[in-house]
Subunit: 346 residues, 2 copies
DNA sequence: ATGAAAGCGCTAACAC
DNA sequence: GTGTTAGCGCTTTCAT
């Protein structure tokens, strides 16, 4: 039972065959159990397997079968609880289908993203779940050229199957809530860890809802960001708050940003929600603490993952029709106490 | 550049060889670049590679070389930010060495733990990082029998290399701090997500420090736990707080538990730290928010991971001496405002 | 019910 | 500098 020394190598199917005096195929049949094998032969084989501690080599099997029991998960940032939980669910779901999950985290630059995806292609993963996507067309092209199914999970892209929360709707709900509380100067705050397609949808929801209410959306506010997201005019938080008529309500890109925002605001002497209301997105565990009590939009993580996984499995088994499938899961608006009536009347 | 249809299959090294009119070995040589190849041949081969979109098959390579570029990470619970961050660092570190990370999360029951580890063995991972371990000797035996190096990362076990935070010391520091603030009734609180060896060390630190100060340690307090950890006499939080002379300070197993604890305490009308002081462990991001401001013991995640990874890599390359290596990284005590002077004088 | 044989796609001697 | 060859450990017809 001790570790095998450097000299001895793992038992292979041949070793088992020799020890039990049968052929490789018979051993294989016993191991998988679909082809019938006489009980006494099977018993001998099983004994040999136990004695040698034989474990089939998944690599060899995959090579032969041309089916790999591994999927890749490209992650935005594991340090963000929303993603961590997403990945957790992914791993569980995928494991229940017999697949292993390879993670690629924080593909911050397009170059690393390509590298990591190249690794997944080399590994010949059966499929890829994209939780983060730079938008680089090459990435999708490479994956598709390799014949690897891809589904966006909380990533929206027309070229691939995807399942996302209805972020446009979600952010519209946030605006409606704030408007109902009397707010008119409602800004949108973008922080670090920006997934392009997600931000885009949320910003769009904010803008459209503001337009409907005939309110000015104005510039996006950034928090701790070196450069604003591409193609967007932005203003830094401090600058925004220094304005004569400063915002009375803020919708943050996600909960992590919202918490950071509240911290900054309060450190600057403002009270939340008395002076400014804040809304997050995701409903991470910390948002639920009484000391935080963040009004936010809850994403239905289990459902997002279930759908994305089902979609991916369908593609892997080639059971699904060819068209790209776009899926939108509704968010749930959770009102807590980081939002309140607008006290400014000007 | 579109996805390859079901009929056509991925290009192999043979396809590249044929198209460029050379042998497989030559293709292999230009791909890896260590054996010299004439420039014109190389150019032809590269052209063929580009045309066919050839990507070497890592499975075939691993099978042949008997070296797999994959490691397994067994995780306690990705939903715990401490573990999520740990895994994030692991993935980065491991990737920089050219390895892919396969995750196995929340191996709650011994049965699943064995299953998941069996999967890792089938995959013939080059090594395993144990971030969670039930203590089941079979798990380690299986891994060792398979010749797979294992290192405990934030998991302490004498049978394997491990690198852990000095939890005994950490918890002692926590007790010292509380004693200095005048506390005498200091309890230890265990919540969900219990990793046995970690809890054990921390409880031990608490007990020993209490003994040194000639204070009674008493029963462990549990929070939202169905059953107390094995071999421990415990009492539920509500019961502990209902006591005549209730605890004035609590040391929680980790930050997640500490946050939950503060929530429960305050929901019950107690103030933190005015009525009861609370100390956590880990220093997760939420602990640093001003609204939380949790006194805690910071674990040096980058260092833990760096050491564990270096150790694992050393074992994989068989470069390290045979003895089990035990590594302890000091925690850093971070005083914030969840702890304060004891107001009770009885 | 069992065995023989032909690969999966690659690497690594070893020849030329 | 380049080609030939023999596997890595497994699955999978196809015989028997």
């Amino acid at each position: 039972m001790s570790g095998r020394s450097a000299s001895q190598r793992r038992a292979t199917i041949v070793d088992v065959a020799e020890l039990s005096g049968v052929s490789k195929s018979t051993v294989a049949n016993v191991v998988r159990g679909d082809v019938p094998v006489s009980e006494e032969t099977a018993a001998r084989v099983r004994a040999a397997i136990a004695e040698l501690g034989y474990v089939p080599n998944a690599l060899a099997r995959s090579l032969k079968q041309r089916r790999v029991a591994t999927i890749g998960a490209v992650i935005g940032d594991l340090a963000n609880p929303f993603y961590a939980e997403l990945v957790k669910h992914v791993e569980h779901r995928i494991a229940s289908d017999g697949y292993a999950t390879i993670i690629c985290d924080a593909v911050d630059t397009p170059a690393t993203e390509r590298d990591r995806v190249a690794m997944l292609i080399e590994q010949r993963v059966a499929g890829v779940l994209l939780t983060y996507f730079s938008g680089d067309p090459q990435v999708i092209a490479d994956l598709q050229a390799a014949g690897i199914p891809v589904v966006g999970l909380s990533v929206m892209d027309d070229r691939i199957d995807h399942v996302v929360t209805d972020d446009v709707r979600g952010t519209q709900l946030a605006v409606e809530h704030l408007v109902a509380l009397g707010h008119r100067r409602i800004v949108y705050v973008v922080g670090a860890g920006t997934e392009q397609s997600t931000i885009r949808a949320r910003v769009q929801g904010w803008r459209s809802a503001m337009r409907v209410r005939e309110l000015r959306a104005g510039r996006i506010v950034t928090l701790g960001l070196e450069r604003p997201p591409s193609g967007v005019v932005a203003i830094e938080l401090d600058e925004a708050m220094a304005a004569r008529r400063r915002p009375t309500a803020m919708i943050a890109q996600n909960d992590v940003t919202a918490l950071e925002l509240i911290n900054r605001l309060e450190a600057g002497g403002l009270r939340v929600p008395a002076d400014v209301s804040v809304i997050g997105y995701d409903d991470i565990p910390a948002a639920r603490l009484d000391r935080i009590s963040l009004t936010t939009l809850r994403q239905d993580t289990p459902r997002l993952v279930e759908r994305a996984a089902a979609l991916l499995m369908g593609r892997i088994d080639a059971a699904l029709p060819g068209d790209v499938s776009a899926n939108r899961v509704p968010p749930q608006f959770v009102v807590r106490s980081s939002t309140g009536r607008c006290r400014t009347t000007d």
